[in-house]
């Protein structure tokens, strides 16, 4: 019995070795060591780091056609004579790489981001590429099994930013995402995934002057908002309001979307927990206008005067529009008439 088992194991090993060997140049790495889930290295006394590579995952990843040694370029002989170098995804994913590793500007700018800086400082909790993308099981962001697939992003970020994650899940965006609405905002829509800067940095997508445009990517998009039944005029209305004008021209203490809506816990105005619920609005405006009373909740907030939805404001707008048209035409007509009259009379007196 033991012999049979031993034979069976030996033949499996042999066959798989032959199988790998025939098809797969990665075979030696795997067979001898890295296919073993228990393979680990002692990084510090009592602390171990796994050196296991899940080959099935790897073969399903975007890098499936790469050889181990294409990334681990300093590995030339097995067993290694010295510990292989620490390598990094950016050794391929940079602009101008002839191998054709996809880049947007973003992975490169990761180095300047909050996270990149933290990694550089040696913050052990800060994410490098692998924390978001994994190392050997990297999948495209369009793949639903990828940790950077839209629906999975909050969880991926949330693995470190736990409180924010729980807050986010309660928001309209989080709730919608959980219901499978992929258009809802996830962390990286607001923060960017790679060029993620603190909000006081002018490059940040959440700098007070950029917030409106960040929300506008969805909230000014008719297709997305119509599908979700959310009105779309808010961004335009905001930009026309004094708050919006002030922000645009550098009065940063003015209000932007998140001053009134919160950011992670964005809620509908129908939700009593929301800062824009009529009952809470006085307090919300009160952050900056200490005298604000419940009066501020009377009247719709985001209005475009030229839009009939604006009610009485629309009529005031129309009144002045027509008054201006009529009066200015009258003035111009009158002046033309006066000049004509003068011309006539001048002509007559010079004849007579």
């Amino acid at each position: 019995m033991r012999k049979i088992i031993a034979l069976w194991v030996a033949s499996v090993v042999l066959l798989s070795w032959l199988g790998y060997g025939q098809r797969d140049p990665n075979a030696r790495c795997l067979l001898e060591c890295h296919a073993n889930p228990n393979l680990k290295r002692e990084v510090a006394p009592g602390q171990f780091k796994s050196l296991y590579v899940d080959y099935d995952q790897f073969k399903a990843s975007v890098h499936k056609d790469k050889l181990c040694i294409e990334c681990h370029t300093d590995v030339t002989v097995i067993p290694h004579q010295r510990r292989p170098d620490q390598i990094h995804c950016l050794q391929c994913h940079y602009r101008g790489n002839v191998v054709g590793a996809p880049v947007s500007e973003r992975p490169e700018r990761y180095k300047e981001s909050v996270h990149g800086k933290a990694v550089e400082r040696g913050d052990p909790n800060a994410p490098d590429c692998k924390h978001c993308h994994t190392v050997h099981a990297v999948r495209a962001h369009t793949d639903p099994r990828s940790p950077v697939y839209r629906a999975n992003i909050p969880k991926t970020c949330g693995s470190c930013h736990i409180e924010i994650y729980t807050e986010y899940l309660e928001s309209v965006h989080g709730q919608a995402l959980q219901k499978g609405v992929l258009e809802a905002a996830v962390c990286s829509d607001c923060h960017q995934e790679h060029d993620l800067f603190p909000p006081d940095d002018p490059r940040s997508s959440l700098h007070p002057q950029s917030v409106a445009n960040t929300c506008a990517r969805c909230h000014a998009d008719v297709k997305i908002m119509e599908r979700r039944g959310v009105p779309i005029k808010q961004v335009e209305a905001f930009k026309k309001s004094f708050h919006g004008i002030a922000i645009e021209f550098g009065v940063l203490k003015s209000a932007n979307c998140i001053s009134c809506h919160e950011y992670h816990k964005i809620l509908s105005s129908r939700d009593p927990r929301s800062p824009i619920h009529p009952l809470n609005l006085a307090q919300t405006c009160g952050q900056c206008h200490p005298n604000a009373s419940s009066n501020v909740a009377r009247g719709r907030f985001h209005i475009i005067p030229s839009d009939p939805d604006a009610g009485i404001v629309f009529w005031v707008y129309e009144f002045y529009r027509w008054l201006i048209i009529v009066m200015t035409s009258f003035f111009i007509l009158y002046i033309a008439l006066d000049l004509y009259g003068r011309w006539r009379h001048a002509g007559r007196s010079s004849h007579g």
Partner: protein
């Protein structure tokens, strides 16, 4: 020639009268004295007539007082300042507003200047109301009240301009167009000051007014402002500068003086009245 004929005629008339009164013919010496008297009198009158003629040729009437001219000057400065700093807020999307706010002065400076302009405007408004209480002001406001005549003046003027009638309507101290402009200014200032104060002191106003009142105020403020600016650059500029009568500039509002020629042409009724008043004063 005519003078010597005149002189001879007057002398003979006088002589005739004297002879009848004395009931005897005048002798040669007496006749000579009469002739001399007549000649002296005539010379005096002629000189007076010449002087009068010379005076009327360059005669000016004082149309506006110093005070009034100063009011206009401050008003003009404030309105120009308000327009320069208000338009870029209304047209904040435009390239020139962008340029102004990014390269010339910041939005904060702009707001400060706008409020300086607004303060000047309110100053003039208060000043003007005070001035209306004075004798001069009381007279002017009476002259400025709209009357039915103004409407018919307007109709008649249009007819005149079209050539339907040959006669220009006769205006008093303020023509219908000046009255219209004055009252438009009064109305516009009232709207702008009210809505402007509300936006300026929104911190306080937010406690008392609903949000939609602010939206209405903002619309009225920006609509009225545009209307006023368009009226100024068409109607007012035409009457004050580009009108062929006064081109290139009508200085009356700055100096307070108006020439007799324009006075007769533009304000004949006032002219007549002034003349009547002068005649009465002279008689007394």
């Amino acid at each position: 020639m005519a003078e010597s004929v005149n002189e001879e005629r007057l002398t003979q008339e006088l002589r005739h009268e004297l002879e009848q009164e004395l009931d005897r013919p005048l002798d040669e010496a007496e006749l000579q004295r009469v002739r001399e008297l007549v000649r002296a009198q005539l010379r005096k009158e002629l000189a007076a007539k010449r002087r009068r003629e010379a005076a009327t040729e360059e005669e000016y009437f004082v149309r506006f007082s110093r005070n009034f001219c100063l009011q206009h000057l401050v008003l003009a400065i404030s309105v120009i300042l308000l327009a320069i700093t208000g338009l870029p807020i209304k047209f904040h999307d435009s390239a020139w507003a962008e340029f102004l706010f990014r390269h010339i002065w910041s939005l904060e400076t702009n707001r400060l200047l706008h409020r300086v302009g607004a303060s000047l405007l309110m100053l003039v408004a208060v000043w003007h109301i005070g001035w209306l209480m004075t004798r001069e002001g009381r007279r002017d406001i009476r002259e400025l009240l709209p009357r039915v005549k103004d409407f018919w003046d307007f109709v008649a003027h249009v007819k005149f301009m079209l050539g339907i009638s040959a006669e220009r309507p006769k205006f008093g101290r303020y023509s219908y167009s000046e009255k219209f402009e004055y009252w438009a200014l009064v109305w516009g200032t009232a709207v702008m000051v009210l809505t402007g104060l509300m936006l300026w002191f929104h911190g306080i106003a937010l406690a008392y007014f609903p949000k939609y009142i602010f939206d209405i105020a903002l619309q009225a403020h920006s609509g009225e402002a545009l209307l006023a600016i368009l009226a100024l650059i068409t109607w007012h500029m035409y009457h004050a500068h580009f009108n062929p009568d006064v081109f290139p500039i009508n200085m009356t509002i700055f100096t307070g003086k108006i020439s007799k020629k324009r006075m007769i042409e533009e304000h004949p009724l006032e002219y007549e009245q002034i003349m009547r008043e002068r005649a009465e004063a002279e008689q007394q």
